[in-house]
């Protein structure tokens, strides 16, 4: 475990032979080994399941599994029958029921991951590294993966599992190693650790210190949503008051992002209402939502939030151009001054204004994304995973920013998969499961256990825990 940028992925790249080590020793079975290329890693039985899959979507499952070592007939032709049989055997070994003749791209991400694992198992991997494998998986798919992992452990495969998600680490791990800032912090038996201990190992400081904020006084309701549904989620109701920070917790795939997109008009809604300041608003598209005072910073700022090649100025100003122009003609000095002012407010270096936004660090990119809505003076801010991919220092700055904005009377809805954050930075916590809000509580009363209980559905969670403990060797 470790924060983003702690060096987990780099360590894995060294193991995989993608990055050369500067110093140190890698031993397998007590034997010192040299891993300079991916082929070396494979020869020593190390297999890596990347978050982004290395597969050819248009080829069949069998073709993918045989890639690079296709069986040949006596005449040097592709032995299709054997290829299909081999693939079916490999998938059988991990208990996956997949039709090997369909194109890989037609499978869900979870199934594709199964295929990757089948490949690793087929290659007799002795050490399997999984880099945040459940990040893109649905709940059911994650469960399948967990049971497969249990089975591999029973078969004597060594597993390195990289994860941010406390609950799965708890379920899966025998030992937990924490990295921070590219350094080894420590390794402990999982059962001997508490969550708080892990977090303080990861962040290197007290949690209260990281998330803490002064008392806030929420006022009148600013954003009100009733019976909103569409895009496979809802119907749901929620209210965010002026001056309030509301955090939305839940498992990945629970539908939180979809809910945010509905409020913002980014996806078509099939029913329900949204009120801003008591005025009924029915955002049919983001442009309408923005006009009514809503701003959203999407989860994936690189692909959905920012124009990476364009200047910081253009990125910040894009949603406010009408106000900074006359008859469609930009008032450039005014625009520049307004952007500079917001940048200063967010402590973004002023000489970055003309740089492409991709030249900024993750934290500063996020600030630029928020600055867009500050410039627009949006009253309702929806921040989807605002601290993903930013380092600890920048996190603290973003929390401070959220606090300041709330104190200015804005209504702020934060989606966070980071439980301590979801509990620590807001006034209320909403828990989402299967596209609905299943629990609403003041942050002061929230604990990670309560949130997880509701996020997973309590009964299911207990049952799984028992089952899992029983399955441990």
């Amino acid at each position: 475990m470790g924060e983003n940028g702690a060096g987990k992925s780099t360590l894995m790249k060294i193991l995989a032979g993608n990055v050369a080590r500067d110093a140190g020793v890698i031993e397998i079975d007590g034997q010192r080994v040299e891993i300079a290329t991916p082929a070396d890693a494979r020869r020593h039985g190390i297999a890596i399941i990347h978050q982004e899959l290395n597969t050819v979507p248009y080829m069949s499952v069998a073709e993918n599994l045989a890639l690079g070592k296709e069986p040949k007939t006596r005449f040097g032709m592709l032995d299709r029958q054997r290829m299909t049989q081999d693939a079916a055997d490999k998938l059988d070994r991990i208990g996956a029921k997949i039709d090997v003749t369909q194109p890989l791209g037609s499978l869900s991400i979870g199934m594709q991951q199964m295929v990757e694992i089948a490949r690793a198992v087929g290659e007799e991997a002795r050490v399997l590294v999984l880099d945040e494998p459940t990040a893109a998986l649905s709940r059911t798919e994650s469960e399948q993966l967990y049971s497969l992992i249990g089975q591999m452990r029973a078969d004597g495969v060594g597993l390195i599992y990289i994860s941010h998600r406390m609950e799965e680490v708890w379920r899966l791990a025998d030992r937990i190693t924490v990295l921070r800032d590219g350094r080894y912090v420590g390794t402990e038996i999982a059962d001997d650790l508490t969550e708080g201990q892990i977090v303080s190992m990861m962040v290197g400081r007290d949690i209260a210190d990281l998330y803490g904020h002064g008392p806030r006084e929420p006022r009148e309701p600013l954003l009100r949503v009733e019976g909103l549904r569409g895009n496979g989620v809802g119907p749901f109701d929620l209210t965010v008051h002026a001056g309030e920070v509301v955090c939305v917790a839940g498992l990945i795939g629970a539908g939180r992002t979809e809910m945010a997109r509905l409020i913002f008009g980014a996806d078509a809604r099939t029913g329900g209402q949204v009120w801003i300041h008591g005025t009924q608003s029915a955002p049919v598209d983001p442009a309408a939502a923005i006009a009514q005072g809503i701003g959203m910073v999407p989860e994936d700022r690189k692909s959905e939030g920012l124009f990476l090649e364009h200047s910081v100025k253009d990125n910040i100003a894009i949603s406010t151009l009408e106000d900074l122009s006359w008859m469609g003609i930009l008032r450039r000095p005014k625009l520049r001054a307004a952007v500079s002012e917001r940048m200063a407010q967010l402590r973004l270096r002023s000489n970055a204004i003309d740089l492409p936004v991709e030249a900024l660090s993750g934290g500063n990119q996020q600030k630029a994304a928020v600055a867009r809505w500050l410039l627009r003076d949006s009253q309702v801010l929806i921040l989807d995973e605002p601290t993903r991919g930013v380092d600890i220092g920048a996190k603290r700055e973003i929390y401070d920013l959220i606090d300041t904005l709330a104190r200015q009377g804005k209504a702020i809805l934060v989606i966070s998969s980071d439980l301590p954050e979801a509990i620590g930075i807001g006034d209320r916590v909403l828990v989402v499961r299967d596209g609905r809000i299943v629990h609403d509580m003041p942050s002061a009363e929230a604990t990670e256990e309560i949130v997880m209980l509701h996020a997973t559905g309590a009964r299911a969670a207990t049952a799984q825990a028992t089952q899992h403990k029983g399955a441990r060797p």
Binding site: A287, S303, E304, L306, D314, L355, A359, L360, N364
Partner: protein, 339 residues
Amino acid sequence: MSSPNPKPAFDFAKWWDRVGILLVLLALVVFMVIAAPNFTRVDNILNILRAISINAILAAGMTFVILTAGIDLSVGSIVAVSGVVSVLAAVAGVPAPLAILLGMAAGAACGMVNGMLSAYLALAPFIVTLGTMTFLRGLAYTLTEGKPVVSSTLSFKALGSGYWLGIPIPVYIMAAVYLISWFVLERTTFGRHVYAVGGNPTAARLAGVKVKRVTATVYVIAGVCAGIAGLIFSARVISAQPTAGQGYELDAIAAVVLGGTSLMGGRGRILGTLIGAAILGVLTTGLILLNVPFFTQLLVKGAVIIFAVAIDSLKQRPFLFGSGKRPDGTTPPDNKATS
């Protein structure tokens, strides 16, 4: 951002962005001046300007389209349709200003069809305009029953062959198109929206940009530009030619790409396009002056396009030309080394 300011090292990529393509043009001109003594004569320079005006005007419209990561293969056919419409109107006795407006309107209407199909039905622009390219060519033939309509007394023939203050009228039109295009792209909200849509359509929509409307509009702009080009063309040849403009779309795309505009959208400058069109024009005229055979001209033109675009692409690789540093002094993570 915490890193100190980097030393102002020579940054090839940045430098090339600003002046690179202009240098190519200057080098070409210098070469021509030395090799072809007639090149610098005023009438020759005016000839070059007039000769490039049609392609340059098409390329201006094409720049809008390519900035949104689209493509318009139908502009050559629109040249024919709008020329045919305006000449037929003029022959039928429609006053010249109205005939000119009709020609431009025909271009706009063709562009509207491209835009609607590409933006609102979300069809691939390449396929849509490949279809309209053929369709509109067919329309031009149908309107003229397959043969040119010659009108030696064409009311608006000054658009093609006229002069004002010793400078050909098409050159004024070209200048006006570029001034307006530059202003729209650099100084208006619409221009910023064009760049935004090309840079990242998803982000543009979430930032409140009306992506579909912007996308449709750029095809209308390309259509109007093609309409203007069609007017100039038919005024030059004082006739309606259903075969007009064949292959012009490729020259226009070449000018845009030579000018440094990315086919992926979101990056490029309208003045680069003008320089790109000028390079093609100087090459063509210069090679003729040098009595280079037509076949060889094609070889040279093709090679120059590839050369210029190759430099533009190579500059993206810092280990060849740059310091490998980001503008804020940090080193970018190596994205290619993984997975």
